[in-house]
């Protein structure tokens, strides 16, 4: 049964050092307030899986020294340019990178949702993405004739973390059409969610809302964090804070500038 946590720190307690943490893409609802809280708490050695790509969140966690392994298909700041801390960490060899491709990650989460050990996927054969993933196997389609296909192991994160518009008091979470958030929660052992606000009533009792609702059954903890995706967007609620992203891109270009950013927007907790 999901709990509505009294504080953000209480909600993110399940995200332990060394765990596999799964997070969504920028346009789905990224729990940025919780990400800053994790950095303040000093979380270490995370295996971060971004479904299927990441922007500021991965860059901030890498720069904050929280990541041992990163598994995703791309990290950049979109129109604001390359992700500077990600790039620096790869060039310095300070994180282990598992390069993927978007549909492979989706397939690996789907395998976990179904409780099966692997999922097949087209493409990939002949790429260096596959060549650098000894955990991915090429298999001959047993229903075909000389038809090689790639098998991808199920990904079972310890914790999924995201931000959504609404939760009710039973921990049901309204995600709307951002359905990869539902896949994240189905695949993970535990799910931690921050929300804009609490919905008075039962999200599952209204069929229109229920169609876009993750049942509280899957949810470990919820914290209320208004503007909890800031400076990233929350679909249908608020846009990306472009000026802030531009400032981040400028500061994070050097490790000194990044330290300055952390001090101003992460450690001194008055940001959003």
């Amino acid at each position: 049964m999901a709990i509505i946590a009294r504080t953000l720190d209480e909600a993110i307690a399940p995200i332990a050092d060394g765990c596999m943490l799964a997070v969504p893409r920028e346009s789905s609802g990224v729990a940025m307030a919780a990400t800053r809280a994790l950095i303040r708490r000093g979380v270490k050695r995370l295996h971060l899986v971004a479904l299927p790509a990441s922007t500021l969140q991965a860059d901030l966690l890498i720069g904050g020294g929280c990541i041992a392994t990163l598994e995703t298909s791309a990290v950049s700041l979109g129109e604001f340019g390359p992700a500077p801390r990600f790039t620096a960490a790869i060039l310095a060899g300070t994180i282990r990178m598992l390069d993927a491709t978007c549909p492979a990650l989706h397939a690996q989460f789907q395998a976990s949702e179904k409780g099966v050990p692997f999922m097949p996927l087209r493409g990939l054969i002949g790429s260096d993405v596959l060549a650098h993933r000894p955990d991915w196997k090429v298999f001959d389609n047993p229903f075909g004739n000389n038809d090689p296909i790639v098998l991808l192991p199920a990904l079972k994160p310890d914790v999924a973390l995201f931000h959504a518009p609404l939760a009710d008091r039973a921990g049901n979470i309204f995600v709307g059409i951002q359905r990869e958030l539902i896949a994240l929660a189905h695949a993970a052992q535990k799910t931690v969610v921050t929300v804009e606000k609490i919905h008075d009533g039962d999200l599952l009792s209204d069929p229109l809302l229920a169609a876009g609702t993750l049942p509280g059954f899957y949810v470990e903890a919820v914290a209320v964090e208004p503007r909890g995706a800031w400076p990233l967007p929350l679909p249908d609620h608020y846009a990306i804070d472009a000026a802030h992203l531009a400032e981040y891109a400028r500061l994070a270009a050097t490790s000194e500038g990044f330290a300055d950013y952390l001090q101003r927007y992460v450690y001194e907790r008055h940001a959003a």
Binding site: R25, E79, P103, I125, R179, E180, P233, A239
Partner: protein, 261 residues
């Protein structure tokens, strides 16, 4: 609004016009991350379809709330593509080589790279399953168009026994348009943009390519096309690519953007 007269145009407008012609008459065009020029072309193709009451093409802009119809999360794009429900997609590369291989990962040894790019995104799958993949790389230089890529995010062609209904049909740059010949596994120079020359293309291309004796000049966008791009397409583009729409077209959106992913 862009107040450029129709007889002058920007490189981006020329490239979008060329891409729109390459798209042709199709049912569904999808546009991925960091692809503002292809997004311009796709929305232009949709506007032309609307003007003719065709009811196609459908356009799915990744990261858009308004210009996509998907309701099953970010996997729906890939599931659609796997079924053959996406006809056109666009890919770029930090490096692209003469065999159509693309590199979105790194330069140098993968374990000790000299340069790191964001990553492969969906390329290692979409390049195989989307019938018409249009490659675009605005910077046409020996740094970007290389003899052989350092990392294959996705190969240009595959052996006979690999399931591969898709692949590259063309490569467009700021200097020219290449067609891709899947049989010969090579590019062929199709046209050179106004103000550029064949000699300049050869000089700035790191791979060998085929070319006809007479290489045509890329046709310039018509006044009508420029008007559609500037007045109808640009404000739509601003939702996903606010910086690009502002710089190229001087347009801004009234709706919030949804970011990339």
């Amino acid at each position: 609004m862009n107040d450029m007269p129709p007889e002058t145009f920007r490189d981006e407008e020329l490239l979008a016009d060329v891409i729109c012609r390459l798209i042709g008459d199709v049912r569904h065009i999808a546009v991925g991350a960091a692809s503002p020029i292809p997004a311009t072309a796709a929305l232009l193709a949709r506007e032309r379809g609307n003007l003719r009451n065709l009811g196609r093409p459908y356009v799915s802009l990744l990261g858009s709330r308004q210009h996509t119809f998907f309701t099953d999360g970010s996997r729906e794009l890939f599931d659609c593509a796997g079924q053959g429900r996406i006809d056109v997609f666009f890919l770029s590369g930090g490096q692209i080589d003469g065999a159509g291989n693309i590199n979105l990962v790194s330069v140098g040894d993968y374990d000790k790279p000299k340069v790191r790019f964001p990553g492969s995104f969906g390329s290692a799958y979409l390049y195989y399953v989307v019938p018409k993949v249009i490659l675009f790389r605005v910077e046409h230089s020996r740094r970007t168009l290389v003899q052989k890529v350092d990392f294959i995010s996705a190969p240009g062609t595959s052996p006979e026994n690999i399931f591969r209904p898709g692949g590259p049909i063309a490569l467009i740059t700021n200097r020219c348009l290449f067609d891709f010949d899947r049989e010969r596994r090579r590019f062929r120079l199709a046209s050179v943009h106004p103000g550029h020359s064949v000699a300049e293309v050869i000089e700035n291309t790191g791979f060998d390519f085929d070319r006809p004796v007479d290489v045509p000049t890329t046709p310039t966008p018509s006044a009508d096309t420029l008007r559609l791009m500037r007045s109808v397409v640009a404000p739509m583009l601003a939702e996903v690519y606010p910086q690009f729409a502002k710089t190229v077209f001087g347009a801004s959106s009234s709706r919030p953007p949804q970011g990339d992913g």
